[in-house]
Symmetry: D2
Subunit: 382 residues, 4 copies
Amino acid sequence: MKRSSLYFTEDHALFRQSVRQFIDQEIVPQTEEWETKRRIPHSIFRRMGDLGYLGLPFSEEYGGAGADFWFSVVFLEELARCGMGGFATAVSVHEYMAINHIAKAGSTDLKQRYLVPAIKGEKIAALGITEPDTGSDVSAIRTSARLDGDEYVISGAKTFISNGTYGDFITLAVKTKPEAGTNGISLMVVDLESAGISRTKLNKMGWHSSDTAEIRFDEVRVPATNLIGMQHMGFYYLMESLQLERLVAAVMAVSGAELALEWTLNYLHEREAFGRKIGMFQAIRHKIADVATEIEVARQFVYHTCWLFTQGEVVVKECSMAKLHTSEMQKRVVDTCLQFFGGYGYIEDYPICRAYRDARVGTIAGGTSEIMREIIAKVVMD
Amino acid sequence: MKRSSLYFTEDHALFRQSVRQFIDQEIVPQTEEWETKRRIPHSIFRRMGDLGYLGLPFSEEYGGAGADFWFSVVFLEELARCGMGGFATAVSVHEYMAINHIAKAGSTDLKQRYLVPAIKGEKIAALGITEPDTGSDVSAIRTSARLDGDEYVISGAKTFISNGTYGDFITLAVKTKPEAGTNGISLMVVDLESAGISRTKLNKMGWHSSDTAEIRFDEVRVPATNLIGMQHMGFYYLMESLQLERLVAAVMAVSGAELALEWTLNYLHEREAFGRKIGMFQAIRHKIADVATEIEVARQFVYHTCWLFTQGEVVVKECSMAKLHTSEMQKRVVDTCLQFFGGYGYIEDYPICRAYRDARVGTIAGGTSEIMREIIAKVVMD
Amino acid sequence: MKRSSLYFTEDHALFRQSVRQFIDQEIVPQTEEWETKRRIPHSIFRRMGDLGYLGLPFSEEYGGAGADFWFSVVFLEELARCGMGGFATAVSVHEYMAINHIAKAGSTDLKQRYLVPAIKGEKIAALGITEPDTGSDVSAIRTSARLDGDEYVISGAKTFISNGTYGDFITLAVKTKPEAGTNGISLMVVDLESAGISRTKLNKMGWHSSDTAEIRFDEVRVPATNLIGMQHMGFYYLMESLQLERLVAAVMAVSGAELALEWTLNYLHEREAFGRKIGMFQAIRHKIADVATEIEVARQFVYHTCWLFTQGEVVVKECSMAKLHTSEMQKRVVDTCLQFFGGYGYIEDYPICRAYRDARVGTIAGGTSEIMREIIAKVVMD
Amino acid sequence: MKRSSLYFTEDHALFRQSVRQFIDQEIVPQTEEWETKRRIPHSIFRRMGDLGYLGLPFSEEYGGAGADFWFSVVFLEELARCGMGGFATAVSVHEYMAINHIAKAGSTDLKQRYLVPAIKGEKIAALGITEPDTGSDVSAIRTSARLDGDEYVISGAKTFISNGTYGDFITLAVKTKPEAGTNGISLMVVDLESAGISRTKLNKMGWHSSDTAEIRFDEVRVPATNLIGMQHMGFYYLMESLQLERLVAAVMAVSGAELALEWTLNYLHEREAFGRKIGMFQAIRHKIADVATEIEVARQFVYHTCWLFTQGEVVVKECSMAKLHTSEMQKRVVDTCLQFFGGYGYIEDYPICRAYRDARVGTIAGGTSEIMREIIAKVVMD
Ligand SMILES: Cc1cc2nc3c(=O)[nH]c(=O)nc-3n(C[C@H](O)[C@H](O)[C@H](O)COP(=O)(O)OP(=O)(O)OC[C@H]3O[C@@H](n4cnc5c(N)ncnc54)[C@H](O)[C@@H]3O)c2cc1C
Ligand SMILES: Cc1cc2nc3c(=O)[nH]c(=O)nc-3n(C[C@H](O)[C@H](O)[C@H](O)COP(=O)(O)OP(=O)(O)OC[C@H]3O[C@@H](n4cnc5c(N)ncnc54)[C@H](O)[C@@H]3O)c2cc1C
Ligand SMILES: Cc1cc2nc3c(=O)[nH]c(=O)nc-3n(C[C@H](O)[C@H](O)[C@H](O)COP(=O)(O)OP(=O)(O)OC[C@H]3O[C@@H](n4cnc5c(N)ncnc54)[C@H](O)[C@@H]3O)c2cc1C
Ligand SMILES: Cc1cc2nc3c(=O)[nH]c(=O)nc-3n(C[C@H](O)[C@H](O)[C@H](O)COP(=O)(O)OP(=O)(O)OC[C@H]3O[C@@H](n4cnc5c(N)ncnc54)[C@H](O)[C@@H]3O)c2cc1C
């Protein structure tokens, strides 16, 4: 059903069509291979670079499309419809979590060396914040970078790094002034092929097509010019960009939930039990009504938050709410949907099975639900 | 925090201020009296008529304000902030469920006789659909109206009728062609003082300030000109206006939930246990974060549905979702909030106590959650 | 369906029959009057005293029945089946929360003066712990009793005291050594007609037949011999008896939930919608299955905890779990059940309506769910 | 904490110790290998046969232990503590779902040929009911067995068959009188190496160590003496044994949930965030309290149902409730627990990650939650 929209224009609709076609034709057929091999070929990044998908929000000066935020929303929604949380993550981390730091605060030189090839899909980017001993508490990171001449020397370890195994460079959060807590963190770009780096691929429950790594840094030398923005200001850059990250996660969560519902509706129309289509059983129908409602309701909140975001409003509360609500919602929705596939829901040939494994990380990665509640409570109560 | 909005203008904001002031100054102080006496004085309707609140959406020709729908949304939100579900219902049934039928399909004569005084607050209106033996299944009503000369003769019974005890007239659904099911229902206006009518006030769990009646019709004679619109078309008029009714309920549910949260936040800042404000306990904080999130999320979906409604879109699915989601949400929210008042939450002096009793009817009146799920499933699945 | 039982003998079954008959014939018919008047006549206590119900667990020396704990379980289950949380509370507070302190630690003199008439139903007892400023944190009470000659002089205030308005005496927790925290609390018996006591009845959401009072003590003089057990040891007496209190609450919660289910099953077999009994709708049936399951599951845990209790095991964890789980369960169950009554569920003529108001206090009185979680977490985690 | 028990004796406790030791020493260390290879070596069945574990409930005449049911409960609880749903399933299907049919209704000859070697662990058994087109509706199976001389000729397909790939024989449900519905089903033992059988291993979300197969039967010939019990009576044999199956599933679900809680408690004591053990955060503590409560409550209901079962009572309702409640509970518990591992919960090195994948099938295999609700509603309502 075509609907009036306050957010999307005809241009967005056309763009949606083209992305959907791309995803259907060039991504979905690769699902089994990528998920089994647990990696995505570099070539698909280059292809997406060629199509302009990797530079949507960035300035044309660096090869970006300079498109308004709703194009990104459309892109992310369609991306999530590939049905592989892993692939969707790989791309969205690259574009909206790693290189956006360079685009925002990086020097022209850094932009030329990293942003431009990343937009082209020639280099794949990762974001490195979490460490083996600290995730939720970003201020407690211990990976350090000490200035030695015109180089930083980095030691420490990061973990759970998406695109960490096969990525080319990383936007890395390090302590440049260890004793200064949140005032001693800096962001810098590090080539992942640098000497002193060792990477171990992690074996995850889901997001199989995305490679996730533990990365050890042993006296890794990086040119001082790889610093992003101002020294010791990294914590604030990170906090600021978290709103975008959470919004991106929320947009994809809603779209992923909707996809799961679509698969389920199809199955309910096909499968029979006790002489009737199982979609005729009222107990199932009422749960589908609940699920459909949950998705629609969440979607409009996410759109609203996107809109506030485009208006330059402070959206810490809304983005945290969007992340919290949609990730929990997606988990519930996919769980309910899987149930109606009976035994087949447990078999990997059915995409709902993967969706279930994929959805579980939503309430953890990018800030746990507990951390979202901490932030929201602070805004609402204090 | 002032926020950009896609829906509300400065005019709406000013209007909100004036309604809020009216509610705070002229309604809230009456709470105890009205709730205890279980009735609202007619005079308050007249006062609201004078202020123009009762004719917001109606044509100026009949004394209405001809204001856009967002003024109604503002009005309903502020109305719900009186903290008496009963009063809010009395007014909203009058304006958005009973007389709107006359405004929409009634003859000019009917409008002069009933719409005009209703907008002035001189006459209070009720809506009569539900019967002792049938509520969810509107097509099964049995109250009949047979044409006898230029009068209809009505027999039967209605129940759960808001404004039924003290109201002046009722928009009544009757069977004019009993054998024709949904094609045999008509709507007509009936003076509640007519001979043959007996009314019994019902003793409800909540909504105390609202009077709810069982009404018996024993050969009640009504001028044939009191028919609203076309004979036998009543079912379709009702179905059409249900969207508005459900939207109205949804708008008030969100606002009611928010009010409950506000009371609770205040209490959390005051009350101490174990040497600290109870608002410092993390277990409470995290639930408040969830509650605040639920409210914000629901609100945006309701606004979105309102907007679709103003665009003239078919909103059967969205209005049913909004009614289902917000009434269930309000129930959960108020329950969670009450808990944090400890024993005081159970004492009638605290508004949260009334809010709990009031909220329970939300998933029943105006179409139960089960019926909402039936409708949504039909749209989504069939 | 008759079932083997590990806990109940034929004697218990016979006793159950007689209590059930008593409740059905002598209590249920009084429902409307007691609930409306918001009090229970003293005479019913005397009647129950005559029947031996008020001394079930107490020694025959003081007029008790010296019956094993399972008789008390039977009694409480049947008591809850009166359908008035208020009456059930009045009786159970009297017998299992107030006078049991005297039975356990009181002097022979105290027993003769208070336990004996209480068992006869001649005097009604209350328990006074909670104060306007502190409930969950018992150690923070401020009502003080200072020894003055052979009398204690009591000043302070208690609130939410069941049987507080019409009761005859109270087992009162006071600070006898204010600076000593939990080591400065004592229990003593206070006649509620004493000079210096003023009582205000509280207007509650439910438990209407039970009177609940705020009680002010203004230099109230009490014989020193009214001290229960050892001075300054009150906190430990209270903590010990909490296990029984919570078990009592749990037993009644399960029974109350089951009663609500029974009413609902009856209604589902009677009421029709869309041409069929509403008990035929699968969406309803599945929720009934869930509700029935919740009740049966909870019941066995409560029985098991009762059994452990009779074995003299430390049951702090289990009693807290039983209280937490059953009170939350009862709330959910009654809410689900009420929904299936449609509009009638909201009308006070239907007992499910009262059950809903009554059930809400379960997660608050006798220790909130949050406090139960604190205790359980401590046992399980620390 | 040692506890009195109504069910378990000192002998059971000793047996528990020995099983626990076996599981810890001989099973747990194999976890990674078996889960990765997605199979269990035959040798472990022989080892368990030697230890007497595979014949616990069976007559000593056929090599069983003739032990009371509580030994089986102990065994299943400890089995589930291996932390591999797959292994636990493989063993429990073999012993409690497949060969028990032979023990119950099989001829002495069948017992000698299949039960005896199965108890020794020399032959591994499967149970074949579900078919590609029908699972919940057992009466709709289509795999047929027609008598041809002194052999049955079997055609059709089964799916989701545990132990189906590497098992040696199968207790197979077939239609011997296709037109007779539930009165036309028979059970027979079929060697899985028979000509005409082809098996395909299924790739599941969890239960990795258990092999699950689709099995096609193409004119497979089986001696008529392989019929179990009476011809055409298979449906009733299946229905009867379902109670045991569901009880077995319930026992393991509770134990599995408890194991997940134990892992989590350990992690909460180790992991730090924001300068404290995460087990100190109240929001986490309260959820742990809920989880611990859910487990204890469920456990006692399962024990109670086991006890009723040993008393020979009709336990259709209780077993269905136990299966429904514990499988849903385990899913919730493991989900909550995983969350507290943060990112590590999503990594396969952590057993909680496997537990999450494993737990999902609980509400599907052995009868879905929807089917349980159908059964319960029938007993409770009709
Ligand atoms: C698949 C995957 C991909 C990821 N990709 C990236 C990436 O590309 N780059 C990157 O930097 N990171 C990445 N992460 C890491 C992710 O952001 C962290 O896992 C997450 O922030 C949680 O941190 P943690 O795992 O250290 O959990 P912890 O911080 O150790 O938390 C453990 C538990 O304690 C709870 N907790 C913590 N503090 C509190 C509190 N104050 N109150 C109550 N509860 C609390 C948490 O909610 C959680 O339940 C990824 C993680 C995963 C699983
Ligand atoms: C305070 C109050 C004010 C009201 N005000 C008005 C008013 O002003 N005017 C007016 O006309 N009405 C009014 N109503 C009536 C209200 O709209 C009805 O109560 C409601 O529509 C439900 O109808 P019922 O009570 O007959 O329930 P029933 O239709 O008898 O339903 C009983 C139960 O069965 C369920 N059920 C019914 N059909 C199905 C199905 N197909 N599948 C699954 N479950 C089903 C319902 O959801 C419900 O749980 C009011 C009600 C209340 C309580
Ligand atoms: C109808 C009724 C009958 C009663 N009868 C009696 C009686 O006969 N005798 C008697 O002595 N008392 C009685 N009570 C009092 C009852 O026991 C208390 O209300 C209850 O213990 C809670 O105390 P409070 O109301 O002071 O709540 P508070 O202690 O003020 O608690 C407020 C909120 O804070 C939460 N909270 C408190 N501490 C923590 C924490 N550490 N972490 C997280 N959350 C926390 C609570 O759970 C609650 O949600 C009765 C109460 C009622 C409503
Ligand atoms: C890992 C695994 C191991 C298994 N092991 C075995 C085994 O060893 N042997 C064996 O025979 N089987 C086995 N099974 C099969 C299992 O018992 C079935 O999957 C299960 O009974 C459900 O059947 P189905 O998959 O055909 O689902 P369907 O019957 O197709 O059901 C699909 C959906 O419809 C719902 N539904 C069906 N009927 C109704 C209704 N009347 N009302 C409402 N909803 C309804 C179901 O609940 C489900 O959600 C196994 C399954 C799995 C996943």
